[in-house]
Symmetry: C2
Subunit: 148 residues, 2 copies
């Protein structure tokens, strides 16, 4: 989903964040590279080409502000790195153990689809899920290899 810059600017405003150049650029980056679930490092690498003075601290500050405001979510699925996800709709993630890709999976969790939002007396506000396994592409590669 490529959203125009004015919409992103308004989005920041409605969330109570001043739409600074850096925040806009980070948000735009998350929007454009949604399916890559970038790391702070990746965001920095890319943006520093356009904004040579930008610092890692700013990226950290910005993504943390986004997390607080619910604009982004952190993915800690691999255990060794934190990746960030621009939140648009509710979805889960799939980590391929072979190629390491993180793929969006749009399965609606039944617990959220239901209206009660309670389990064992606990009030559920967020549902997070992830799967691990072997992705379609890697499965096909194995299949091709096996034929020889």
């Amino acid at each position: 989903m490529i959203t125009n810059i004015h919409k992103l600017k308004n989005l920041l405003k409605t969330k109570g964040l001043k739409p600074t150049y850096q925040r806009l650029k980070v948000l735009q980056y998350l929007d454009k590279h949604m399916d890559e679930h970038p790391t702070v490092e990746a965001i920095y690498e890319s943006l520093s080409k356009e904004i040579p003075t930008i610092s890692m601290t700013t990226i950290y500050n910005t993504v943390n502000a986004f997390l607080e405001k619910g604009l982004a979510s952190a993915i800690t699925i691999t255990g060794t790195e934190v990746r960030y996800d621009y939140i648009t709709s509710h979805h889960h993630h799939f980590l391929c153990k072979k190629c390491g890709r993180i793929i969006d999976i749009d399965i609606q969790c039944p617990i959220m689809a239901g209206r009660k939002k309670r389990t064992h007396g606990h009030k559920i506000e967020e549902v997070h899920g992830y799967f691990k396994g072997v992705c379609k592409d890697c499965l096909e590669k194995v299949h091709v290899k096996a034929k020889h």
Copy 2:
């Protein structure tokens, strides 16, 4: 679940891990303190009372070995710390935003209950889920307060 030491010893053997004293103690700790989902720090603090020479390195080595062999799983739900879980049955986790407790939730995910284990062509080997919200106890506290 308090399992006796011989069973734990055999468990290590069947997983291809030498049943050293340290590994046994870590495994026993995870078994006993299952519902606390301890951090490496917590395991170290507790075990060093009994084994003064034990080092953090050993705890790290051990839990990582357990992760590889599927004896334990890492919980990165809070984002700021890694906690470890002794794997017995498949379950999900609930993080209370008020008190910070991580509570086990035994909801069986329909995707695992089904026989196909495939989604969008990807082969699913592991299903992880977690919820965030307010736990039963914290909800009751708020309720009591509101009455006054």
